[in-house]
């Protein structure tokens, strides 16, 4: 029998979660779903749909996987999601004072999307050689239950 105490592990996945307001208006919210001028959740409304970006508080390091869980997205319907590099900024809405998604040298690999009742999880990987800011996005129609 070969016994070993060696135990190899990858760096732990960074998992964060945010709670969506019931019927979000365009604006900025904190992770609890309260309106907050410095919150990490940005909502854009286009017609009946809500486009939500949630910025990860902890920047994934090179090779790190990261996940964002969106809670209170009603139903179990299939949804569109995305994960992108992000430029963190000061106060202001999406696109003001930075606070915007970004396409640069780093590629944020899309690893997985999960759906549970009233929740969505997006998983990505920082494939670059630098620590970067990342945000996950989801598109849904509030009140549709799908």
């Amino acid at each position: 029998m070969i016994a070993s105490t060696d135990y190899q592990t990858e760096s732990p996945i960074v998992v964060e979660r945010v709670r969506m307001p019931d019927n979000p208006k365009a604006g900025r919210y904190n992770a609890s779903g309260k309106e907050d001028a410095n919150g990490s959740v940005f909502v854009l409304r286009v017609g009946p749909s809500a486009h939500v970006w949630a910025v990860l508080e902890h920047n994934p390091k090179p090779g790190d996987r990261c996940a964002m869980i969106f809670e209170n997205i009603r139903g179990t319907g299939m949804l569109d999601v995305i994960m992108s590099q992000w430029i963190k900024g000061g106060s202001g809405d999406l696109g003001e004072n930075f606070n915007q998604p970004y396409i640069g040298e780093a590629v944020v690999v899309h690893l997985a999307r999960y759906r549970a009742r009233d929740a969505v999880k997006v998983v990505g990987l920082n494939s670059s050689t630098a620590e970067i800011s990342v945000a996950a996005g989801v598109l849904f129609v509030p009140g549709s239950g799908a």
Binding site: H51, P101, I103, L139
Partner: protein, 141 residues
């Protein structure tokens, strides 16, 4: 004496510039990579409520190669977009599903641009197109 140089197949990076004006609702139109209308152009846009865009890589993606397509001139609204990458039937000028698997690596968004990253996992070079679906032309709610 030897000088060994190890190199991976470099990624292919292409850009397309979307037209300023989308085709009318319910229609499909073809453009070149600069956004000019062109019959059988490399960019096809279908406008059905949201806009569905296919952009064909101008040369076949080599076996094992990573390829990136950057979509420019999107409206400066950071809407979430959906992405795809698929084998392309050059004779019929449409997406196709064959034996090859085109791996979708990343779907990313900037303020005025989107990017699709994919890999040709097949053992032969392939015509490939990257696609996005996004509400580019809808009013803010």
């Amino acid at each position: 004496m030897s000088k060994e140089i190890k190199s991976h197949l470099p990624a292919r990076v292409e850009h397309v510039w979307l037209p300023d004006k989308m085709p009318p609702q319910g229609t499909v139109a073809s453009y070149d990579f600069k956004g000019n209308p062109e019959q059988n152009g490399s960019v096809t846009i279908a406008n059905y409520g949201v806009q569905f865009v296919w952009a064909r890589f101008r040369e076949p993606v080599k076996a094992g190669q990573v390829a990136m397509m950057v979509f420019g001139n999107m409206l400066p609204r950071a809407v979430v977009l959906d992405g795809a990458a698929t084998e392309w039937d050059m004779s019929a000028d449409r997406p196709t599903i064959g034996d090859a698997v085109v791996e979708l690596i990343a779907v990313e968004r900037g303020m005025r641009e989107g990017r699709i990253v994919c890999r040709n996992t097949h053992h032969a070079d392939l015509p490939i197109a990257a696609g996005i679906a996004a509400p580019i032309d809808l009013p803010l709610g």
